[in-house]
């Protein structure tokens, strides 16, 4: 369990209320879960992914993440179509714990409405929200 000050909260991504992050990469958005989320879940043992081509709206459930503690739902930080899923997680779900913003990414999305990205929290807002959750 990490302390508040130990969470990695990079400023090149935006954060959702449900602890997903979204990073703008050209026309696409890469999605994962935050360092706080992976820390809360504990060791991740399985990630249930959508199929490439599936479409979801913002806040809709797109998959599940299973740890030794519980199964939790994954929610879209932004609505759109799934372009890619991180297939490495099938063999190595622990990547989400080790490198949540890098090799532990979940999906790449083509957003329906890029403006939704701006509705997500900045690093500063998200850090404030986490302080409130403690």
């Amino acid at each position: 369990m990490k302390k508040m000050s130990e969470f990695r909260l990079p400023d090149d991504v935006r954060y959702s209320e449900d602890h997903e992050w979204a990073r703008l990469e050209g026309d696409a958005i890469r999605v994962g879960i935050s360092d706080y989320a992976q820390d809360q879940l504990g060791d991740i043992t399985f990630v249930g992914m959508p199929n490439v081509g599936d479409a979801f709206s913002q806040k809709q459930e797109f998959g599940t993440v299973e740890s030794t503690k519980a199964v939790s739902e994954l929610f879209m930080p932004i609505g759109g179509k799934v372009l890619e899923v991180n297939e490495a997680l099938e063999e190595s779900p622990g990547l989400v714990n080790e490198d949540p913003y890098g090799r532990g990414w979940l999906i790449l999305v083509k957003p329906d409405n890029p403006d939704e990205f701006n509705s997500l929290m900045t690093k500063g807002d998200y850090a404030k929200r986490l302080k409130g959750a403690e």
Binding site: M1, K3, Q40, T45, T68, K69, A70, P93, G94
Partner: protein, 485 residues
């Protein structure tokens, strides 16, 4: 200083049976052959199964040693919330071992099985009385199986009304298997959040209850150990929109003889005989999850039904709208004998008293530990109470560490990380069968562990230290399960 029961002793290592024994060793002798020899049909010949060759003492020691690694409710307090690990009186084991029962065969005709059929028929009546429902089927083999049977009955009810529905409301404080049972029946589970008091508010249900919703699955008391006080009002909202109310009976141990579910709006109710009515459980079964219904749903119950005609009992398949058969023969009969013995030997007053003591014990623990652990919902609880690791986290100690350290003190850990509505939950259900001295000792152990968490967190991170094996690598076991012997 309290003398805790957790200690170390000589614990034997024991290999797999396949690593023991020697070729040709045997544990039995066959009687002398008294018929002639005949050649076997070719198709029946081949290599036998891979069984090890062992002597009787090797087998006896193997299982005795394995049993010494175990912790059961016969060895100590087992406060595993939501599981009702209470002591099961040995009398009921004795009844289930009566030769007339153990020698009975399910293919015997009804006229040679009158005792067994009468026991099942009368158990159905007793459970109907306890739940306030009208008709019962004992067939389901476990709680979740009872849930599925209940969902199938609700589905059959809507179908017979000419309007199959697609959704089921499941509160976030429901028993964990509820959404899966609804989904297995083809329903889409719709989550509804409990309010800040940890219970359902009628408004939240009214908001999502519509004509596409088949009903609601309510665990009462819920998994926070709180009684759903608005159950009548919620049932009314659901009924008005044509839906049915499913009651999950996992927590029935809190309300036997106190709340009749049928009287407060529940249409279908399952029970866990292995939790509430005296069958040892925890090793994967067998259990029994009878499903109880109101009169208007009786025709959908699984077949066969047990019927009585002038004192003669038989099995009847005559039920056109039944959801069908859901278990081989008629469920797990041994569990039914224990439940029947338990209910008769306890009697109405003692069953009620058992629930009262289960609730008293949980409230006693809650009061004793509320300054030790963070209490998620500070209000009177039913048969279990839910704490969290919020206060200990600042020392880098989590619920898992606390649970593992309690093992060193000689206690089975409470349920951890469930219910999900409380982060890092520690769910304690002492049950009615624990004495005040044993509960006090458990409280002392919790206090000692919390003191260690402050002074020496490493002790908790390293726990358990007194067990045969140390902390297991659960992550690796889940990521790379080894499923062979």
């Amino acid at each position: 200083m309290t003398d805790f029961s957790g200690t170390t002793g000589l614990i034997f290592n024991e290999p797999l049976l396949w690593e023991k024994g020697r070729k040709g060793r045997t544990g039995m002798s066959l009687p002398r052959r008294d018929v002639g020899t005949y050649a076997l049909d070719e198709s029946l010949c081949g290599d036998g199964p891979d069984f090890p060759d062992l002597s009787e003492p090797e087998v006896a020691r193997h299982y005795v040693r394995l049993s010494q690694w175990n912790f059961g409710v016969d060895s100590g307090l087992y406060p595993l919330g939501s599981c009702t690990m209470k002591y099961n009186p040995k009398l009921n084991e004795k009844m289930a071992s009566l030769q007339g029962f153990t020698g009975a065969h399910p293919l015997l005709p009804a006229e040679l099985s009158q005792g067994a059929l009468r026991l099942m028929f009368e158990l159905e009546r007793l459970l109907a009385e306890i739940t306030g429902m009208d008709a019962v089927s004992l067939q389901p083999a476990a709680g979740a199986h009872g849930e599925l049977a209940g969902m199938l009955i609700i589905h059959a009810y809507h179908k017979s009304n000419g309007a199959a529905r697609s959704k089921i409301i499941v509160p976030d404080t429901a028993h964990g298997t509820n959404p899966a049972s609804a989904a297995l029946c083809g329903y889409k589970p719709v989550a509804v959040k409990s309010n800040e008091q940890g219970v359902l508010s009628p408004e939240a249900v009214a908001e999502i209850m519509d004509s596409e919703t088949a009903g609601i699955m309510i665990t009462n008391p819920n998994t926070l150990g709180l009684f759903e006080r608005s159950i009548r009002e919620i049932a009314e909202i659901v009924h008005k929109k044509g839906g049915l109310v499913y009651g999950d009976g996992a927590n029935m141990n809190a309300v036997m003889g106190i709340v009749r579910m049928g009287d407060i709006g529940v249409d279908v109710q399952h029970l866990n005989l292995h939790k509430t009515f005296s069958t040892p459980h925890g090793g994967g079964g067998p259990g029994a999850g009878p499903v109880c219904v109101k009169k208007n749903l009786e025709k959908f119950l699984p077949v066969p039904r047990i019927i009585e005609n002038h004192g003669a009992y038989s099995l009847s398949y005559d039920s056109a709208e039944s959801i069908g058969k859901i278990h081989a023969f008629y469920g797990n009969f041994g569990v039914m004998i224990k439940a029947y013995g338990y209910i008769l030997s306890m009697g109405a007053e003692s069953l009620k008293k058992a629930s009262q003591l289960a609730v008293l014990n949980a409230n006693y623990i809650k009061a004793k530990l509320k300054d030790v652990f963070h209490l998620a919902y500070d209000q009177p609880c039913m048969h279990e109470c839910v704490f969290s690791d919020k206060l200990q986290k600042q020392n880098g100690v989590t619920t898992l560490d606390i649970a593992k350290r309690l093992i060193d003190y000689g206690f089975h850990p409470p349920t951890v990380y469930f219910p999900l509505v409380v982060s890092g939950s520690i769910m304690i259900e002492p049950t009615e069968t624990e004495s005040k001295e044993d509960i006090d000792q458990f409280v002392e152990a919790c206090k000692a562990v919390v003191a260690e968490a402050k002074e020496n967190p490493e002790l908790l991170h390293a726990a358990p230290t007194r067990t045969k094996v140390r902390r297991l690598d659960e992550t690796n076991a889940t990521r790379h399960p080894c499923l062979t012997g």
